[in-house]
């Protein structure tokens, strides 16, 4: 067992940002760092993963199209591991990875952890990964059984993207895969919308803490008075109270307003993924340990309705 294998992720002919972050994370891990690109025609993607810090690129030709199918990725990763076992395997904590990485780990009895935001080699052969538990309120250090590779799904946007301009060696592999039992049939774009929360300088964002549907209206009004655009966390969309176009987070929009004012949002990892790049984050939450305070610049541990009442008077 040696080295670190990075599994590239791509969509629509483009390598996704998380892949560049994985390469940065790999820099503190066993060398060589190999990046695998799995696709029907991987060649076109290879230049984008030739990043500083990559020693080798493996182009794995597999599947009938470049679109993700979980069994194809599983077979491809299996073949790579059959060839030579790396010490560490890195993939993003993304929807695609969720579809195949745990299966590979279960089948091959690999060490496995997801949503990892820190990883180090404590001593040769001992990998320690850190992730959160219990609503991100506590962190846990994880260790893994010796003798098997460790497959880690890393939290996106934690590591800086690696820079282009590498000079990695390239290797090509062609796989005869059996067709995936779950077949990709097409894509459907989110419905078009009149609001675009990504262009607003000031978002007033509300979460499950607002409690009831009847409370939406007052925040619509408050946002208007304050000159803010109203944004929401996922549960508000799940409940059908607001359209998905206003959702901030991993499965919603990534926003970078000058000011992000959050009311009653706990700060789940998938929410933070969409807003932690905001200029100034202000959070109001009745729970002093809410994870949102860890990314906020300003905070208040208060009932959000009390603060909203006072803001109403000011605007």
């Amino acid at each position: 067992m040696s080295g670190t294998l990075v599994l590239a992720e791509h969509l629509g002919g483009k390598v996704r940002d998380v892949t560049l972050e994985l390469v940065t994370a790999a820099q503190g891990l066993p060398r060589p760092v190999t990046v695998a690109v799995i696709a029907a025609s991987p060649e076109a993607l290879l230049d984008s993963v030739d990043l500083v810090g990559v020693d080798e690129i493996v182009a794995v030709r597999a599947g009938e199209s470049d679109d993700f199918e979980n069994d194809v990725y599983q077979q491809a990763l299996d073949t790579l591991l059959d060839g030579s076992e790396p010490e560490v395997i890195l993939a993003g904590f993304t929807v695609n990875s969720m579809g195949y990485a745990p299966a590979v780990a279960a089948r091959r009895e690999l060490g496995f952890a997801s949503d990892v935001f820190s990883v180090e080699v404590e001593s040769p052969g001992t990998i320690v990964a850190t992730r959160a538990f219990y609503g991100s309120k506590v962190h846990g250090e994880l260790t893994f059984a010796a003798g098997a590779p460790v497959l880690l799904l890393l939290r996106p946007t934690v590591w800086a993207p690696a820079t282009p301009g590498g000079s990695a060696a390239r290797r090509h592999l062609s796989l005869e895969t059996t067709p995936s039992r779950a077949r990709h049939r097409g894509y459907r774009e989110p419905p078009p919308s009149e609001v675009d929360i990504t262009t607003s300088d000031f978002l007033l964002s509300i979460g499950r803490g607002i409690g009831e549907r009847d409370n939406i209206e007052r925040f619509v009004e408050l946002a208007e008075k304050m000159g803010a655009t109203l944004a929401v966390s996922r549960p508000i969309v799940d409940a059908g109270w607001m359209p998905s176009a206003r959702q901030v987070g991993q499965s919603g929009k990534t926003v970078k307003p000058k000011v992000y004012l959050a009311f009653g949002i706990s700060g789940a990892v998938q929410h933070l993924a969409g807003m932690k790049g905001a200029g100034t984050i202000i959070a109001v939450n009745s729970d002093p340990d809410a994870a949102i305070f860890s990314v906020a610049d300003f905070g208040a541990v208060l009932d959000l309705f009390d603060v909203a009442d006072e803001l109403d008077k000011l605007y």
């Binding site: 009895e109 309120k137 846990g140 059984a145 300088d201 000031f202 100034t280 202000i282 305070f293 208040a300």
Partner: protein, 257 residues
């Protein structure tokens, strides 16, 4: 058609946190339990599927959890919502709470029940691993689709057309033959509430308790759990709502100008 829904009693921390004497878990006295949000949507989807196929014989929704006796609360809530049967698999302690160990135990039940469809939540709110369902699919030899926001099942072809929700809300249209395992995302449906009578009836129902061994290495071992340093953290604006509102208005004005 038989559907097995795997559910978890999740634990949330209240306003206080205390690490236990082992240093490897939080003190359970500080935890509040509930049925995992994602699993509520998964169960609702199973119940709707069953109802849509009604009129044909033998449709059953079975819920299963891995956990100690306290976790039967989660199963009772599922029974009250309309699940036909509930099974609890005994669990080990902290050293056996990793997703692979849990998946092995669940696989024992899938092997026995031989369902047409298995539904799991995408993730549990307390651990956020998004791993147990897909591990279970592999161990049970089932095709799977993760992070599903819509299911259309066609009984004649025994195939389901499902949507998988990717980053940014893009939907991937996927076709999968039954039997299969789907991990269900929140918002896929509007879960029903159980009425008082159903809750009473659920409390009287029997829950089957079984032991399923889990042999093989764990996915990981928790070596240490700790409350993260607050770091620089947020600058706190005080505890008077009027003062806080004034400060917010001031900060907003300054940053936007």
């Amino acid at each position: 058609m038989k559907t097995v829904v795997c559910v978890k009693q999740v634990a949330a921390l209240g306003d206080e946190v205390e690490i236990d004497d082992s240093g490897r878990d939080v003190d359970h006295d500080y935890l509040e339990s509930s049925l995992n949000e994602w699993d509520v949507f998964a169960l609702e989807e199973a119940l709707r599927l069953k109802e849509s196929l009604d009129g044909q014989d033998g449709h059953e929704v079975v819920v299963v959890t891995v956990g100690d006796e306290e976790c039967e609360q989660a199963l009772r809530r599922c029974l009250a919502m309309g699940a036909d049967r509930a099974i609890r698999v005994e669990a080990g302690g902290i050293d056996e709470s990793d997703p692979l160990t849990t998946a092995r135990r669940l696989a024992g039940i899938i092997g026995r029940e031989v369902p047409d469809l298995v539904l799991c939540g995408v993730q549990s709110s307390d651990a956020v691993q998004a791993a147990t369902g897909v591990m279970l699919a592999e161990l049970a030899g089932l095709p799977r689709v993760a992070v599903v926001t819509s299911v259309h099942y066609d009984a004649t072809s025994a195939k389901a057309q499902v949507h998988r929700e990717l980053e940014g809300g893009l939907l991937d249209e996927v076709e999968v033959g039954m039997p299969a395992l789907l991990t269900i995302q929140t918002g896929i449906n509007e879960p029903r509430y159980a009425n008082l009578r159903a809750i009473k009836q659920a409390n009287a129902k029997e829950i089957e308790v079984v032991n399923v061994p889990s042999e093989g290495p764990r996915a990981y071992t928790v070596r240490k759990m700790f409350v993260p340093e607050k770091g620089d953290g947020a600058e706190m604006l005080g505890s008077d709502a009027a003062v806080v509102a004034a400060r917010i208005a001031e900060i907003v004005r300054a940053r936007l100008s």
